[in-house]
């Protein structure tokens, strides 16, 4: 049984005259925490969008769990187990925290128009079972108190936690986090990092785009560095930290 979850080959994307992404080879395995770092403009977010199918690639292939998903709709890919979050949190403002989680966990069948109209006993049962999972997750994220508040009343950090919680309701195989620590205070960062590390123990692979290098080095088993659309380094944190190419890329683009 293969350990490989995601396999990207020759993925390219151009915007006008600019080559935003040109990745020859990229693989993600089960149970890994991988960080994607690189100077601004390196193409990390675009790469993220491409592999989660929120943008169309110009050429290349993407395989997830053995299936060719290169042209698959983003929502279908999410259903297969690739769940992502967003740089600017996208919680459902005018729904309660609990409803946010309910939506995430609710089965697609139950959300069918007819099924919702009829509301069979099995639908009602499934909704009840959801309650347990929601409460557990909220407990882990320290959001239980805010269960019935509108999502928009949460603080910035709490919204990040909610977005994470929602994603977890999907029982993802790969969790893709787009700058999970952006704008988050140090204490909450610690908390988030701990949660992310623990996820790994539950068999979820994590790929995160991050600028916070300390955090990255602390919890990642593997670090991938992008610059100018290409992957320039890939390996254990210590290896990458002292890789000449990486140092050049960061110094060369006068960043951070």
């Amino acid at each position: 049984m293969s350990n490989n979850l995601l396999s990207v080959r020759s993925l390219k994307k151009r915007f006008g005259g600019l080559e935003a992404v040109n990745v020859d080879e990229f693989d993600l395995n089960k149970n890994e925490i991988t960080s994607l770092i690189g100077p601004n403009g390196a193409g990390k977010t675009t790469f993220f969008d491409l592999i989660t199918r929120f943008q169309n690639s110009d050429s290349g292939s993407i395989n997830f769990d053995g299936k060719n998903v290169t042209r698959l709709n983003s929502y279908k890919l999410a259903r297969l187990g690739m769940v992502r979050t967003f740089q600017l949190t996208r919680v459902f403002d005018r729904m309660s925290v609990y409803e946010n989680m309910q939506f995430a966990g609710s089965s697609i069948n139950n959300e069918g128009f007819l099924n919702s109209l009829i509301q069979s006993s099995s639908l009602k049962n499934q909704e009840k079972l959801l309650t347990e999972k929601i409460n557990e997750t909220l407990e882990m994220l320290n959001l239980s108190d805010m269960k019935n508040s509108y999502a928009r009343e949460l603080s910035g950090g709490q919204k990040k936690l909610l977005e994470l919680g929602r994603s977890l309701m999907k029982s993802p195989k790969i969790l893709l986090l787009d700058e999970p620590l952006a704008g988050v205070n140090p204490k909450l960062s610690e908390q988030l990092l701990e949660i992310i590390s623990n996820l790994n123990k539950n068999g979820i692979s994590v790929l995160m785009v991050e600028h916070n290098i300390d955090a990255v080095m602390k919890i990642s088993e593997r670090v991938v560095v992008m610059a100018e659309g290409k992957i320039i380094s890939d390996g254990k944190p210590d290896f990458v930290r002292s890789d000449k190419n990486v140092i050049e890329a960061y110094l060369g683009s006068s960043n951070e």
Binding site: F86, E99, Q102, F103, E111, R166
Partner: protein, 348 residues
């Protein structure tokens, strides 16, 4: 809660006003008003599903109302166009109504499928344009629709089913039995539709729709098909609109292309905004209050102009409609029964 008390008072005052300002024939005026209010309320419930539940801007509702009306009437005995071509056979009314509703839903599918991925304000323009195309086509294809002459002599299909006790009741209070019957059926339909919608609102589907309204990308990232959800909502609102259109033409007794014009859509929107976007009963309440206001504008006209002619009556009426829409959108966008926390104001 406070807003329900306010709503109750507004209704009470409105009804008192109607009966007080019409010493004779108060009941007749009341039935007329409530029937129109019911019809517009039902239509407004339809666009509430679009806008209040899903955040879709549909300014072409008149087309859905129109296609429901035309389809149904053409399927029952009627008389068509300038020559008065008589078609004396047809489907049983309940089936014709069902087909009309389905036709409206299908138009929703046809229109929605390509356009629902458009951004909010563009969808508004597209729906207005589509409704305008519908109106122009209906007006021009006279052989099919009777064109500007329209369709008449179809009411019997509905009035034949009117129970005797209804007829006796309305005659004893000097109301039009035919209109009373349409009114009764309309309000029964509103209750049935609201029961169904209430069930849907609390269901997983209704919840999913609200999520789509909030953030479509997040919905996709969580594995749900946002476009399908929007399409289903669009078809549902269209179907409800279709039903309201059917009642509208039975109320008039004729179908004409000039009925389904943008003004109709704007009236329905005014009723929705007034009553409360997103709330279940709001649209119906808004329609009643709206029609009372419209009825009272005639007295305002008489105050402003000594003996106002038709043009001036219409003018004052619409000036007030315009002001209502603006006023409520700016100062009280949640209307009478809407929830303030659920407003769509800061959607950019």
């Amino acid at each position: 809660m406070k807003k329900y008390i306010i709503a109750f008072f507004l209704l009470a005052i409105s009804f008192m006003y109607i009966f007080l300002s019409n010493e004779t024939g108060g009941a007749r005026v009341f039935v007329n008003l409530m029937t129109f209010a019911g019809i517009y309320g039902l239509a407004a419930i339809g666009i509430n599903v679009h806008f209040g539940w899903t955040g879709l801007l549909n300014f072409g509702h008149a087309a859905f109302m129109g296609i429901g009306a035309y389809t149904t009437v053409l399927l029952i005995p009627h008389s068509l166009g300038r020559e008065g071509v008589v078609i004396s056979s047809g489907l049983p009314l309940p089936i014709a109504i069902l087909v009309g509703i389905v036709a409206a839903a299908l138009l929703g599918l046809l229109l929605g499928l390509p356009t629902l991925r458009l951004r909010g304000d563009y969808l508004a323009i597209v729906t207005i344009a589509a409704a305008e195309i519908f109106r122009l086509l209906v007006r021009d294809f006279e052989n099919l629709t009777g064109g500007v002459y329209g369709i008449i002599q179809f009411s019997d299909s509905l009035q034949n089913s009117r129970p005797d006790f209804i007829t006796r009741f309305s005659e004893s209070y000097d109301m039009s039995p035919a209109q009373f019957w349409v009114g009764v059926l309309t309000w029964i339909s509103i209750i049935v539709v609201l029961l169904i919608l209430s069930r849907l609102k609390k269901s997983p589907w209704g919840r999913a729709l609200r999520a789509v309204r909030e953030d479509e990308d997040a919905v996709r990232a969580l594995g749900k098909n946002a476009v399908l959800l929007k399409l289903q909502s669009f078809m549902l609102g269209a179907a409800i609109g279709g039903l309201s259109g059917i009642f509208l033409v039975f109320n008039y007794g004729t179908v004409q292309a000039s009925t389904f014009v943008p003004v109709l859509t704007f009236y329905v929107w005014a009723a929705l905004i007034l009553g409360g976007v997103g709330s279940l009963g709001g649209p119906a309440l808004g329609a009643v209050i709206f029609w009372v206001i419209i009825a009272s504008t005639d007295s305002i006209s008489r105050f402003l102009f000594e003996s106002p002619d038709g043009q001036q009556l219409a003018g004052v009426r619409f000036v007030i409609v315009g002001l209502l829409i603006m006023f409520f959108m700016i100062f009280r966008p949640s209307g009478i029964l809407g929830k303030k926390e659920e407003l769509l104001l800061d959607v950019k």
